[in-house]
């Protein structure tokens, strides 16, 4: 009996720690980017264009991961790109969570007309193709960090609202809610003290997943040149630039891609790991 549970627990722990380690590394890199980056990410050197990474022939030891076609250091650009990626991930996911969770709880717990309004809104919202919607949105309000965050919030709140509405509904039908009502607690009090703690694990999982999604959305928008100004180093922008010279300089594309991949994976795995930690029954 003990062995089966032990196995599950250990795996969850490893997943949690590995992903957390990667994300902590990213945070440190983002905070100390100017000190860690070997070069200025914007500095161009046309004579040092498309230098390969350090282990290949013709590499310059000063450019560890090589340079792009304009001679900018790939490593430094990835390091500075971390700043934008994490800023977008944390701010937009938190705001999305706040909006989506609040509306979801409102609809799922209070039901009635609040539910009708929110649910119809979600249905209508989800009928728009999300990427097109975000491109349209940014085309209207103009590119920039704020626009990306706004676009993610506006598009993705439905993801939270739907799931949390369903969960709030399930929890609301439980006997402990009835008991709390008999004990004289008001609706809002029940929502905060009885429902919310039970929905929290799901909120946390969704939040971390959303951070991963936000990183991807930011990359997509950079890819179609609708993110920050093209000079600023973003992972998506680097991938987009690298695509044009993939046959001559694959490293310009591949290194940001790996970083992006690991980051999104870490966010989703962190969510899973945290869920197992949070869940009182699994704990």
């Amino acid at each position: 009996m003990a062995d089966g549970r032990f196995e599950v627990r250990r795996k969850a722990g490893l997943r949690l720690w590995l992903s957390a380690a990667w994300l902590i590394l990213l945070v440190i890199v983002a905070l100390f980017a100017p000190y860690l980056a070997p070069k200025d990410p914007l500095e161009q050197d046309l004579f040092a264009g498309r230098l390969p990474p350090f282990w290949m022939q013709g590499a310059d030891a000063a450019f560890l991961l090589g340079t792009d076609s304009l001679g900018r250091d790939v490593l430094s650009r990835i390091i500075f790109g971390t700043r934008i990626a994490l800023t977008v991930a944390v701010i937009s996911a938190s705001l999305t969570c706040l909006v989506g969770a609040a509306l979801g709880l409102l609809a799922g717990f209070y039901r009635g007309w609040a539910d009708v309004v929110v649910s119809r809104f979600i249905d209508i919202w989800m009928a728009f193709p999300p990427v097109l919607f975000s491109i349209l949105l940014i085309a209207v309000i103009g590119p920039g960090l704020f626009s990306i965050i706004a676009a993610i919030v506006v598009i993705d709140w439905t993801r939270f609202a739907r799931v949390i509405r369903a969960e709030a509904m399930t929890q609301g039908a439980m006997d402990y809610v009835a008991s709390a009502r008999v004990a004289g607690r008001g609706r809002f009090g029940i929502l905060l003290r009885e429902i919310l703690p039970n929905v929290l694990p799901i909120i946390v999982v969704l939040l971390t997943l959303e951070m991963g999604i936000a990183v991807i959305v930011e990359a997509i928008l950079s890819f179609v040149n609708l993110s920050i100004s093209t000079d600023d180093p973003t992972w998506g922008g680097m991938i987009s630039e690298g695509r044009t010279s993939i046959h001559q300089a694959w490293w310009v594309l591949v290194f940001p891609l790996i970083t992006l991949f690991l980051t999104v994976l870490s966010f989703s795995q962190l969510g899973e790991g945290l869920k197992n930690r949070f869940d009182p029954v699994l704990r």
Binding site: D175, Y176, V182, A183, G184, P197, P280
Partner: protein, 282 residues
Amino acid sequence: MSFLSVRNLSARVKGGGTLLRDVSLDVAVGEVRGLVGESGAGKSMIGKAVLGILPKAVEITSGQIMLDGVDLLALPPAQRRIKVGATCALIPQDPLTALNPSRRIGPQITDRLVDILGWTRQRAEERALALLGEVQITDPTRVLRQYPHELSGGMRQRILIASAFAAEPKLIVADEPTTALDVTVQKQILKLIAALQVRHGTALLFVTHDLGVVSKVCQKLSVLYAGKVVEDSAVADFFRAPKHPYSAALLAATPKYTDPLAGLQPVPEAVIAAVRAEVGHG
């Protein structure tokens, strides 16, 4: 004088079928009234209507619920909640969902004492400890710090009983409190409820479909069919001579331990047809 007096209560699903038809019943101070009937007869609905926890889809169409001389249905929701919270409690059906899984046992018992009655946390905690002792939980100090999933179904039902009695309510609605438990635990729980009821002098509205339980715990009895009270008797009279043919058939349908080979006696079709015609159902 009756503490709870339900008068001509009717309820229905919004835009749908009738659930309660003109229900009247009284529970005197310290009295135990059983509410029996088959599934869907509206037993639990009455309890829920009294406590104000009807599902949103259900609406009360007419009638009064007099609690301690006040018509609950005439009160604004906030006042009603406080009135009910201060004088009533619920022992729910399923102990597995009746405790919040993400909170410790302690606060779940003491919340009401602190929030509604304004006790200090320490006094509430002492009270919770005493009551956990009364429901025969060993090591109550530890239980208060545990989470619901760490306890068995029987333990959880004991905790819910302790919690229901904690605020010294005048009336407890027990909504099939033993249905979700296995038979050996059922008996202990019933004894426990009966003992606490006597000791605290609490009136009890006992919803059940088990006439055996009624005979052990209750003094009065209401038999429901399709949301209508077809018989209202003292329990002793009921078992001696049920007044209504439907309740007589219900009593005859109870399996007898003394004659296990007799087989089950279903309620005869003719009786069902008659009672349906009488209450105006379908």
